[in-house]
C-alpha cells in the first residue's frame, strides 16, 4: 500500500464531500441548527404545558369542617381549611408556592348526582369534565372531632396522564392537610414535637457539583456520541460507494493504478473524518444548547434549587472530554469500516439507504442497553462492541477512572478488532467483481436453493462458515432453553448444536464433506505436537485462569451452577466423557473443521487462524463463562496453527482432548489426599491449581520452542498448502 495514493484519494474524497450540499447539511448545518431550535421549542412547550391548570371537582365541599356552621366548639379556632373561602382553589398554605396552588383549579359541587354516582362519575372523568374528583364524606367533621379515621376517595383516570398527575398532586395536598390537622392536635394536647413523628429522615448528598454535572452528561453524551458517529459515517459511505457506482465513476477509479486496498483506505479515512466531525459537532451544539437552557431554567427556580440546578449542568471536565475524543477514534473507525462494507454491496444510493435500517436495528438496542439504569461495565458488557464503549464513556465521565482503567483493554481490543475485520471485509468486497459489477436480477428462492444444492463446491464459503457459527449458537440456545442446565443438556448441546450443525452443513452445502471437515490422516510429527504441547502449556493455562478469575470474578450464581453440575457428574469417567471427550470432538469439527475450511477459501492463513480463534472464544463466552474467553481464544490460536500446519483435524482433537483431560485429572488429583506427595512437588497453591515456578518456567520455554517449530515454514509443505483446492 502506497500512502501517497491513499492521501491523494483521501483528499479528493474529502473535497468531494465538502462540495456536496447534502453532506454539508447533515454534518455541519443540521447539528448546529437542530439543538437550538429544539431547545427553543422545548422551552416553549414546557411553559405551555406547565401553565395549564388542572380541574379538581370537590364533591360535598359543604361537609368540610371549615364550611360547617356549627363546627365543633372547641376545635373551631384551630380548624385547618382545605379550600380558600371562595372555593376556587385549595388553601395556598398547603403548597410550596402560590403558583403551584393556582395549578389546581377547584370546583365545588353539592353531594348530588351525577357526581355521587360511580358510573356517571367515570363517564364525566372520561369526558374530561374533571381531571380528578375528591369525594368528601358527609360525616367528615364529626369523625375528625371524634378522632376517627375517615377515608377521602380521589377518583381519577389512570389511562390519562394529566388525570394521573392531578391525582398525585391532590393526594399530596390532602397529605399536607392531614399533617397540619395532626399538628394542631399535638399542640392542643401539649405533646412534644416527636410525639407524632418520632423519626424523620434527611438526605445528605455527598456528590460535588462537578460530579453531579458529570452524571447528567454521562447519561446523554455516550448515547449521542455513538448514534451520531454512526449517522455521520453512513451517509458519506453510501455516497462514496453506491453513489460512485450510480454516477458511473467507480470503474474510472478501478482502472487507475491505485490498488483496491488504497482506494478503500482513502474512502475509509474520509468516512471516518465525517463520522468524527458529525459526532463532535453534535456534542458541542447540544452541550451549548443544554447549558443555555439550564441557565434559563435555573433563573426561574427558588434560591435553594439554584445551586443544585447549576451543579447538575456543570460542564464536563476537560479530562472527560479528552477521553471522549480518544474513544471516538476507534468507534468512528469501526462504524466507518462497517458502513463502507455495507455500502459497497449497494448498487444505488437508494439501495444503500435500505441497509441503514438493519444497522440501526442492531446498534440502537446495544446503546440503549448501556443507558439503562443499573447497567455497569462487566466483562460481558465490555466485550460487546457498541455497549462496551458507551459504558466506558459513561464510567469515564463519572470520573471512575479505576474501573475505566480496568476495562479499557477489554473495550478497546474487541472494538479495534471488529474495526479491522470490517475494514478487511470492505477491502474484500472491493476485490469481488460480482459485488462491484452487480446487476439487478430476479431473485427466486427456489431456484437459488436448487442452485446451492446442485452446484456444490468442494469447500464452504466464508459466508457459509459464518452461517454455521450463527446456527450453532442459535441451536445451542434453543437446546439450553428447553433442557435447562444438567448433564443431558450439555450432551445435547454438544451433539445437537456444535457437532450436528457443521456436519449437516458439510453434507448439504459441499461436495466433499470429509475434505471440508479435514478428515485426513496427519503426520506423526503433528500428532506428537498435539499430544505434548497441551502438557507443556498446561501450567500457563492454569496461571492465566487464576489471573482472569482475579480480574473478572465469576458471579456466584454461575459458581453454584458449575458446582451443581460437578456433583451430577458422579463418576470420573462420566465427567471425562462429557467435559473432555465430547467437547474436543464437537468443537474441533466445528471450528477447525467446517469454519476453518470456509474461511480458508478466501482469507490468508493468519486471518483464518485469528477469526476462527475469536469465534471459538466467543462461543465459550455465550455458552459457559465469560472468563473462558481469554483461555479459549489463546488456545484457539494454537489449535488454528496446528490445524493449518497439519491440514488435518486429528492433531487438534488430540490437543483438545489432552488439555481438557488434564484440567479434570489435575483437579481430582489435587483434591485426593493419596497424592499429597506428588501435589507438593507440583503445586505452589493446591487449591487454585497454581504450579511451582519451576514447572511454569519449564513449560513456558518448552511450549515456546514447540510453537516455534510449529510456526516455522517448511518449503515442501508450503507447496502442498498452495495447491489446496479452490
Amino acid at each position: 500500500m502506497r500512502w501517497k495514493n491513499v492521501r491523494t484519494i483521501f483528499k479528493r474524497e474529502l473535497k468531494d464531500q465538502l462540495r456536496d450540499r447534502r453532506t454539508i447539511f447533515m454534518v455541519f448545518v443540521f447539528p448546529v441548527l437542530l439543538y437550538p431550535i429544539m431547545g427553543l421549542s422545548l422551552g416553549q412547550l414546557a411553559t405551555a404545558f406547565q401553565a395549564k391548570a388542572r380541574k379538581v371537582v370537590v364533591v360535598g365541599a359543604e361537609f368540610l369542617p371549615e364550611r360547617q356552621e356549627h363546627a365543633g366548639e372547641g376545635a373551631s379556632s384551630e380548624t385547618v381549611p382545605l379550600l380558600t373561602p371562595e372555593g376556587k382553589t385549595f388553601d395556598p398554605r398547603l403548597f410550596d408556592s402560590l403558583t403551584e396552588a393556582l395549578l389546581l383549579e377547584v370546583e365545588c359541587v353539592p353531594a348530588k348526582p351525577p357526581w355521587t354516582d360511580a358510573a356517571e362519575r367515570r363517564t364525566l372523568l372520561r369526558e374530561g369534565r374533571a381531571d380528578a374528583v375528591v369525594l368528601i364524606p358527609a360525616d367528615l367533621a364529626g369523625s375528625l372531632d371524634a378522632m376517627d379515621r375517615t377515608e377521602i376517595p380521589i377518583a381519577y383516570n389512570s389511562a390519562s396522564e394529566p388525570s394521573q398527575l392531578t391525582e398525585q398532586r391532590v393526594a399530596r395536598v390532602l397529605d399536607r392537610w392531614k399533617e397540619r390537622i395532626v399538628e394542631v392536635r399535638r399542640v392542643r394536647e401539649g405533646k412534644p414535637e416527636g410525639y407524632d413523628e418520632p423519626v424523620r429522615s434527611t438526605a445528605e448528598d455527598v456528590a460535588t457539583r462537578t460530579e453531579m454535572g458529570n452524571s447528567t452528561w454521562a447519561r446523554i453524551f455516550p448515547f449521542l456520541l455513538v448514534i451520531m458517529s454512526l449517522t455521520g459515517a453512513f451517509y458519506p459511505a453510501v455516497d462514496l460507494c453506491a453513489g460512485e457506482k450510480e454516477r458511473g465513476t467507480m470503474e474510472t477509479v478501478l482502472i487507475s493504478p491505485a490498488t483496491r486496498t488504497e482506494i478503500v483506505m482513502g474512502k475509509f479515512l474520509t468516512v471516518m473524518a465525517a463520522s468524527m466531525a458529525t459526532a463532535l459537532l453534535n456534542l458541542l451544539s447540544m452541550g451549548v444548547t443544554g447549558f443555555g437552557l439550564a441557565v434559563q431554567a435555573v433563573g426561574g427556580l427558588g434560591d435553594g434549587m439554584k445551586s443544585r440546578g447549576a451543579a447538575l449542568l456543570q460542564a464536563p471536565s476537560l479530562e472527560s472530554l479528552f477521553w471522549i475524543a480518544l474513544l471516538l477514534v476507534p468507534l468512528a473507525a469501526f462504524f466507518s469500516a462497517l458502513c463502507l462494507a455495507l455500502a459497497v454491496l449497494a448498487r444505488s444510493m437508494k439501495e444503500g439507504q435500505y441497509y441503514m435500517t438493519p444497522l440501526y436495528l442492531v446498534a440502537l438496542p446495544l446503546v440503549m442497553y448501556s443507558v439503562m439504569p443499573g447497567v455497569e461495565l462487566t466483562v460481558f458488557t465490555s466485550l460487546l462492541p457498541i455497549t462496551g464503549v458507551s459504558l466506558l464513556l459513561k464510567t469515564l465521565m463519572l470520573g471512575d477512572y479505576a474501573t475505566a482503567r480496568r476495562f479499557f483493554l477489554p473495550v478497546f481490543v474487541p472494538l479495534v478488532l471488529c474495526g479491522l475485520l470490517s475494514l478487511r471485509w470492505a477491502i474484500d468486497q472491493f476485490k469481488s467483481e460480482s459485488v462491484l459489477f452487480r446487476e439487478s436480477e430476479r431473485f427466486d428462492v427456489r431456484a437459488w436453493l436448487r442452485h446451492t444444492v446442485t452446484h456444490k463446491l468442494s469447500r464452504p464459503s466464508p459466508a457459509q462458515a459464518l452461517l454455521c457459527f450463527v446456527l450453532m449458537l442459535v441451536a445451542a440456545w434453543f437446546i439450553s432453553m428447553s433442557a435447562g442446565f444438567d448433564v443431558m443438556a450439555l450432551v445435547a448441546m454438544h451433539v445437537g448444536a456444535i457437532l450436528g450443525v457443521p456436519l449437516l452443513l458439510a453434507f448439504l452445502l459441499t461436495s466433499d464433506p470429509a475434505g471440508t471437515l479435514r478428515l485426513r490422516p496427519a503426520r506423526t510429527r503433528y500428532l506428537l505436537l498435539g499430544l505434548i504441547l497441551p502438557i507443556t502449556l498446561f501450567p500457563q493455562v492454569c496461571e492465566l485462569r487464576v489471573l482472569v478469575e482475579w480480574l473478572f470474578p465469576t458471579p456466584d450464581i454461575l459458581k453454584q451452577a458449575t458446582g451443581a453440575l460437578e456433583k451430577m457428574l458422579s463418576s470420573a469417567w462420566l465427567a471425562w466423557l462429557v467435559l473432555a471427550a465430547l467437547p474436543s470432538i464437537s468443537e474441533e469439527v466445528a471450528f477447525r473443521g467446517f469454519i476453518f475450511s470456509g474461511l480458508e477459501r478466501s482469507y490468508r492463513p493468519v486471518w483464518v487462524i485469528v477469526i476462527s480463534a475469536l469465534m471459538f472464544g466467543f462461543m465459550h463466552v455465550l455458552l459457559s463463562l465469560f472468563a473462558q474467553l481469554f483461555n479459549a481464544t489463546l488456545l484457539g490460536l494454537i489449535l488454528g496453527l496446528l490445524a493449518y500446519r497439519s491440514r488435518s483435524l486429528f492433531p487438534g482433537i488430540l490437543f483438545h482432548l489432552v488439555n481438557n483431560s488434564l484440567s479434570l485429572l489435575v483437579g481430582i488429583m489435587a483434591a485426593n489426599p493419596a497424592f499429597e506427595g506428588l501435589s507438593r512437588i507440583l503445586f505452589r497453591d493446591k487449591a487454585r491449581l497454581m504450579f511451582q515456578p519451576v514447572w511454569v518456567a519449564l513449560g513456558a520455554v518448552l511450549s515456546a520452542c514447540l510453537i516455534l517449530v510449529l510456526a516455522k515454514k517448511r518449503p515442501a509443505e508450503c507447496m502442498a498448502a498452495s495447491g489446496r483446492p479452490e
Partner: protein, 254 residues
C-alpha cells in the same frame, strides 16, 4: 502492444449456471495500429476490454498488455493503459482541471511535469474554455473530452476506447475520431470498439467481428470483404451473424 490468447469469461448465474460472456477470443494489436472491435450490444466487447483493463479476471486463457500479464501484474498493466468506456464517468463535483490532475497524481506523476503535460493536453483538446467547470455542468461533448484527457494524461503506450462515440453528436464524434487518428501517428497501440460499421471501416486498420462472445472473423476490412465476398462491412457483419446463429441453432438442435 496487446496479445490476447484464448481469453474466456463466464459469470455464475444461479438460474442458468455458468454463463459464458466471452469464449476463446484471440487477437494481437501492434503499436501504430487501430484495432477495431465490431459487434452488437451484448456481444462481449465490453467484457473483453474490461479484462484487458484488469477490472475483471478472465476465467480462461491469458492476455498481456505492453508485456505485462493482466492477472499477475495488474498494477503494471493499469499504469500503461488508458481506458475509456461508457462505464468510466467523470466526477460531478470536480472541475475538468482537478479531475485530470487527480488521476495524473494517481499515476505517480510529479506536480511539475504533470501540470506541463496537462497544459499541452488542454490546449490540444481545446478544453481551456471549461477547465474550471464542474462535471455536473458540462455537456456530453465536454465530458467526453475530459475523459480523453484523463485517458492520456500519463502518456500510456496502450489506449482502449470502448464505444467512445455512442451518444455523441456528429461534430463531437468527428473531432474525437480525429484525436484517435492523431494518437495513432504517435505510435500508440489502440483498440477501438463500436457497433457503428461505417465508423470502424473509416478508422481501423484491422477489425475483429465479435458476436455471442466469440470472434467470427479478424483481418483488414478490405481483405475480409474479399474473403467472404461481401460488398461492405455491414453486409459482411450480417452475413457472419447469420452464419453464427445458424451454427448455434444447429448445435442446439443436436
Amino acid at each position: 502492444m496487446i496479445e490476447v490468447e484464448h481469453l474466456s469469461k463466464s459469470f455464475l448465474d444461479y438460474r442458468r449456471g455458468w454463463v459464458p460472456a466471452v469464449f476463446d477470443v484471440s487477437f494481437r494489436c501492434q503499436p501504430g495500429e487501430i484495432f477495431g472491435l465490431l459487434g452488437p450490444n451484448g456481444a462481449g466487447k465490453t467484457t473483453t476490454l474490461r479484462m484487458l483493463s484488469t477490472v475483471l479476471r478472465p476465467t480462461g486463457g491469458r492476455a498481456t498488455v505492453a508485456g505485462y500479464d493482466v492477472v499477475d501484474q495488474p498494477e503494471q498493466v493499469r499504469e500503461r493503459i488508458g481506458f475509456m468506456s461508457g462505464g468510466t464517468g467523470i466526477y460531478d463535483r470536480m472541475s475538468a482541471w482537478e479531475l485530470v490532475e487527480y488521476f495524473g497524481r494517481l499515476y505517480g506523476i510529479a506536480d511539475g511535469p504533470l501540470h506541463e503535460r496537462m497544459e499541452q493536453i488542454f490546449e490540444w483538446l481545446q478544453m481551456n474554455s471549461f477547465r474550471d467547470m464542474l462535471g455536473s455542468k458540462m455537456s456530453t461533448g465536454m465530458k467526453q473530452k475530459v475523459s480523453i484527457a484523463r485517458t492520456i494524461v500519463h502518456d500510456p503506450p496502450v489506449l482502449i476506447f470502448d464505444e467512445p462515440t455512442s451518444g455523441l453528436d456528429v461534430m463531437v464524434a468527428r473531432s474525437l475520431r480525429k484525436v484517435i487518428q492523431d494518437l495513432r501517428t504517435r505510435q500508440k497501440t489502440i483498440i477501438f470498439s463500436s457497433h457503428d460499421m461505417a465508423e470502424v471501416h473509416k478508422l481501423c486498420d484491422r477489425v475483429a467481428i465479435i458476436h455471442q462472445g466469440r470472434l467470427q472473423a479478424v483481418g483488414r476490412p478490405s481483405e475480409l470483404l474479399e474473403q467472404y465476398g461481401q460488398a461492405d462491412l455491414e453486409d459482411l457483419f450480417f452475413f457472419l451473424v447469420d452464419q453464427a446463429d445458424k451454427v448455434s441453432g444447429e448445435s442446439a438442435a443436436i
